[in-house]
């Protein structure tokens, strides 16, 4: 146990290097996406436009009829979905016969400060969905949105219901009045002027501010406990490799376009307009009762980024008849990378999608 004291400085040094590398990537005007680790599952890019690079992962074995489009969050790189064998959501979906498409968001640069929910939802996701439908020769897709990507997907489904056959929000930040997550209360106390000042100074919300927001959620964990965890599990096979990759991803924050940052903090977080169907994107009100397709709302029980109590009410706000909440004992990221989730959660999701495939 005493060796922990001699190993901690080395862990901290490596952590500091990762943080500095993340900072360097974050301040680059053209975010170096080529720095991402190599993908586990091979893919080809079938469409590029706006801020979307659309990847196609071919289904393995007998193919399902409806392709799956995954909408990732705007604030991190998506390689967490395809990190290691046995811990890859992409691998799980393709092995279950789903032709899987992933929206790899191209990080914004100085000329993208104008981009708000309208541009991302009504242009980018819509273009990606149509590119998938055209390629597959279908009229509808299954849509899966993770975290902030879940919020974008919810807006898209409400505004373009005709193109979405099945919808799976995963750890969806929905009801922002829920104060279970401490950092939310800080966001609620930020004045609108402060939010506007950030974009006035920087144009986009810098990656370093996004990172500071995540780190401040659990400072002791980031400063000490995660390294102690690494020390205690250094004999566990694969732990240190997973730790390294996960920490690298944690330091892969990307900037958020100025307009969407303002809308997110002021309209989504502070005014909580989405659950009230009062949010407006591109002049159109996001009416949740427009969502009529089958919905499986996946919630992580131990989520400390999006409180389960924030995601669960989504089901009651939509008009779908075929809808359910699926809760799983995992954290925010564990729901996509843990081997337990690949063994127990995702097979259930695949079965649900298969039942709604015809």
């Amino acid at each position: 146990m005493l060796s922990l004291l001699s190993e901690l400085p080395q862990y901290w040094t490596e952590g500091a290097i990762r943080a500095l590398e993340g900072y360097r990537r974050g301040i680059s005007d053209s975010y170096p996406v080529e720095d991402d680790p190599p993908p586990l599952t091979p893919y080809d890019v079938i469409y590029e436009g706006g801020k979307v690079s659309l990847r196609r992962y071919a289904a393995q074995g007998p193919r399902r009829a409806t392709p799956l489009l995954i909408c990732f969050a705007l604030i991190k790189r998506p390689y967490i979905l395809d990190l290691l064998p046995g811990r890859s959501l992409i691998e799980t979906m393709t092995k279950n016969g789903f032709e899987t498409y992933l929206i790899d968001w191209i990080p914004p640069n100085r000329s993208d400060t104008w981009r708000g929910f309208d541009a991302y939802v009504n242009q980018d996701i819509d273009n990606a969905a149509h590119a998938v439908m055209e390629r597959e020769g279908v009229d509808q897709i299954s849509l899966l949105g993770y975290c902030f990507g879940g919020l974008l997907s919810t807006m898209y489904t409400a505004l373009h219901q005709d193109t979405v056959k099945n919808f799976i929000p995963l750890t969806l930040p929905f009801d922002m009045s829920v104060s279970d997550i401490p950092s939310n209360s800080i966001v609620h106390r930020m004045s609108d002027d402060t939010v506007k000042m950030i974009t006035h100074i920087y144009g986009n919300c810098p990656a370093s501010i996004m990172n500071a927001g995540f780190t401040s959620m659990s400072p002791v964990h980031h400063a000490l406990d995660k390294y102690v965890g690494l020390y205690r599990n250094k004999e566990t096979p694969g732990y240190s490799k997973m730790f390294e990759l996960f920490e690298r991803w944690m330091n892969n924050d990307v900037p958020l376009a100025g307009q969407i940052f303002r809308e997110l903090i002021i309209d989504v977080f502070k005014k909580n307009l989405v659950p009230q169907s009062q949010f407006v994107a591109g002049g159109r009100r996001v009416e949740l009762k427009n969502i009529t397709c089958p919905v499986l709302n996946v919630v992580a029980d131990n989520d400390d980024v999006v409180a389960p109590r924030s995601s669960l009410p989504f089901i009651d706000a939509i008009a779908s008849r075929d809808k359910a909440n699926l809760t799983f004992p995992a954290g925010h990221v564990g729901a996509i990378v843990s081997s337990a989730a690949q063994k127990k959660l995702w097979p259930q999701v695949c079965n649900w999608l298969a039942d709604h495939d015809a």
């Binding site: 005007d29 100085r110 104060s179 106390r189 402060t194 659990s218």
Partner: protein, 171 residues
Amino acid sequence: MASPAQNSKDLASLYKMLFIELPTTSSKALLGLGEDGALEQTVWKAYDTGIRLVNRSTDSLYQNPFFGDALGRSLPGLLQAQRLTSAVSGAAFAAWRSLTGLAGAAEIHAVRSEIRDLRRELSSLIAALPERAATDEQVDLRDEEAEEDFIRALDGRLQAVSTNGHVAKAA
């Protein structure tokens, strides 16, 4: 959210670990009476309880309206200070760069944009190639002619080397 009851329970548990269990287990270990690894287990239990308590305290601090207000009020000041620092360092570095002749971020950005434009132009030219390209036979013929030109030039150079002992300069 941490309730005061949970905090009290964790505090009592930590107190018990630090002042009862840890000294008892340490004494037993020193006397060789304890089980293998018992001391280590107790230390980790105390650590876990301490971390849980600290995390709950941090959460409570964030949810404290006074702390939230204070942080909310100090943010604009911090942002202004950072803006001022960036302006000062930007001006200083601009002067330093002009002295050393190094390129600034704006210049690098301009070069990058130019490269991007050139790439786009090249891609569009490549895309337009099939329309302008000759038939396969014409391409083959052109290749053969180029090959013959190359061989002729090489022969000429070899001849020059053999006569003068060095490669003659091209006219």
